[in-house]
């Protein structure tokens, strides 16, 4: 028993040592240092894992092609486990000890929000991969982000509903951060879009059955469509329950469901569900004339051949962040933080996998509703809607 403990202890020490050594690379000045903390492990690892792989893959590729401004890129990634508490010390370490030139990080909104004061004070450009709109609204001088906000998704869905003459909807939402934020947006934007909520149901985290809530929505007076705000396994369960109950009205979900596993796990229940998705997710269904087709298919090909796993839209956020940063550094002609920040803000018509970015001093995201494509599940795959 004792020797076992010794072994475990040694192994733990070894891991710590390896983690400590890994980031120290070439000397400062020779390289452009990119710092990152991501939710590589833990509950949000489905975000952090593809983000890390994407950053590593493209940093290697850029270095193999000769680097940027004649310098190699050096990537330093810490694992925040998605925890805001861990993210703050990592951000400080990146700024003070590793002396990075730019930070591309923050898989979750929580971790991003926690480090914003640190980044603002240090004056270092920071591109976040967090989802919610609060990150860039109100605008913070040094903070940018690449993923679509839930506000954009809700607007896109409402536009589609209006085109189909739908004005009374039942809403079902989960209880995660994204789910709640999405629900708030639906409640806020519905009156302006001429849409009435005739039912507003929620379900708990880890729930395995939502038939009760969907029955209520089904029986709500005048309901014309159901909309679901949620993430992960629940999206498939809702689709299954919806089919089981034979509700028979249009069913909308958000970009939180835009992954192949949603269709697969819904066991046929996803058929006919409409949702707004990033071009990346439906790249094969895009017409050749679509502006993002080239960038998105190149990313998909690279990611899938290097990692052997299917792309998710989350890795795309990291791709866009890295490319926007590199373009800005090239334009600035140096890694001077203020100059790079100004150049990021001037990003215009940059074609990424998430959309076409045009940032401004008042818009640190630079995407609009047009960056989403509306898709419908048909025959077990995505079908792009006109």
């Amino acid at each position: 028993m004792k020797s076992l403990f010794k072994w475990v202890g040694l192994m733990a020490l070894g891991t710590v040592a390896a983690a400590g050594v890994a980031p120290s690379g070439a000397q400062a000045g020779d390289t452009i240092k990119i710092g990152s903390f991501l939710a590589v492990t833990g509950g949000a690892s489905f975000l952090g894992d593809p983000e890390k792989k994407t950053l590593e893959m493209y940093v290697d590729k850029i270095n193999a092609d000769g680097g940027v401004l004649g310098k190699k890129l050096e990537l330093i990634v810490y694992d925040s486990g998605g925890s805001p508490k861990k993210a703050v010390p990592f951000a400080k370490r990146l700024i003070n000890d590793d002396k990075v030139d730019i930070i591309l990080a923050g898989s979750t909104t929580g971790a991003t929000m926690a480090v914003i004061p640190v980044v603002q004070k240090a004056g270092i450009p920071f591109i976040s991969f967090g989802g919610a709109g609060v990150i860039i609204n109100p605008v913070k001088k040094w903070v940018f982000k690449t993923p679509h906000t839930d506000t954009l998704a809700v607007q896109k869905i409402f536009t589609d509903m209006k085109a189909r003459g739908i004005s009374k909807i039942g809403l079902l939402s989960g209880s995660g951060g994204f789910d709640k934020s999405c629900r708030k947006n639906v409640q806020k934007l519905a009156p302006g879009a001429g849409i009435t909520l005739v039912a507003d149901e929620t379900h708990g985290k880890g729930d395995t059955d939502m038939t009760a809530q969907i029955t209520k929505i089904k029986n709500a007076a005048g309901v014309q469509a159901m909309m679901y705000c949620g993430f992960g396994a629940a999206t498939s369960i809702v689709a299954k329950n919806f089919k089981q109950l034979g509700v028979g009205i249009p069913h909308y979900q958000t970009h939180g469901s835009a992954s192949k596993s949603f269709i697969k796990n819904a066991d046929g229940g996803a058929e006919g569900v409409r949702l707004p998705a990033a071009a990346l997710v439906v790249v094969d269904a895009l017409p050749a004339s679509h502006k993002q087709k080239k960038v998105a298919s190149a990313y998909k090909k690279m990611y899938e051949s290097k990692t052997g796993s299917e792309i998710s839209s989350f890795g795309g956020h990291a791709y866009d962040g890295l490319m926007i940063a590199i373009e800005a550094i090239k334009r600035a002609g140096s890694t001077d933080k203020a100059a790079v920040r100004t150049e990021i803000e001037k990003t215009s018509n940059f074609i990424g996998v998430d959309g076409i970015y045009t940032m401004s001093p008042t818009d640190h995201l630079g995407l609009d509703e047009a960056s989403f494509v509306m898709v419908e599940v048909s025959g077990g795959d995505w079908k792009m809607l006109k």
Binding site: H203, G204, T208, K216, S236, S261, N265, D267
Partner: protein
Amino acid sequence: MFAELLQFLFSGLTVGAIYALVGLGFAIIYNASHVINFAQGEFIMLGGMATVYFIDLGVPMPVAILLAVVLTVIVGFALEKFAVEPARDAPIVTLIIITIGASIFLRGSAQVIWDRNFHSMPAFSGSTPILIGGASILPQSLWILGSTVAIVIALHLFFNRTMMGKAIIATSHNPLAAQLMGINTRMVLLMSFGLSALLGSCAGILIAPISLTYTGVGIMLGLKGFCAAVLGGLGKPMGAIAGGLIVGISEAMTAGYLSSAYKDAVAFIIILAVLFFMPNGLFGGRETERV
């Protein structure tokens, strides 16, 4: 109106039956050792995840299910042998903490061995809903209800008709006396972990086609199962079953008729109420001690 009620009832019964199976697992281990095994939820997870894994390997579904159950039972034995038994002289609280540690270990290992994604499992006999009185029920729900009834009957026979079952009951009443009567109480503890791993894995496999499965699936189901066990009076098998059904049905009714926001709170409110007014649970007799 009636159709709506029936729909909520179906939904409640399905989930309730799963809670009941998990609750039973808690009750059996509690009986044998007075330990509350917080790794019970991980048995649910192992059952579902292992079945999906074996199916992906190309094993036919019935064999995959059997293999998953066997694997989970082995894990249950190992948990008792390597984590609980070496510390059997420690206070109960220590043992409970050990089970919490074991549950974190099992969940972590599963994440490393398999992955962190959600997996679906095909339903046992299709997913075309059956319409009854305007409400719809999935064939899988019938499988859940039927299997739960079968398992409960089998357990009843095991405890009342077999030597092993009777030994477990005797040990739960008085371990020292049981030992003096020649019952191998260590064996009883081992069996009870195996048995509750069996129940947990069955619950996990039965619910997987409905709820999907992933490495964290056991956390909430385990907690609700624990509520069911406490509600019925810890250590009362029939109480755990009734408790599971009560929690499941009242959750569905709350989501349907009150507000779905309060659904998860219901189980815990019931627990609080029961513990205030009937500290031994609905089916727990008064503790009497002869002086």
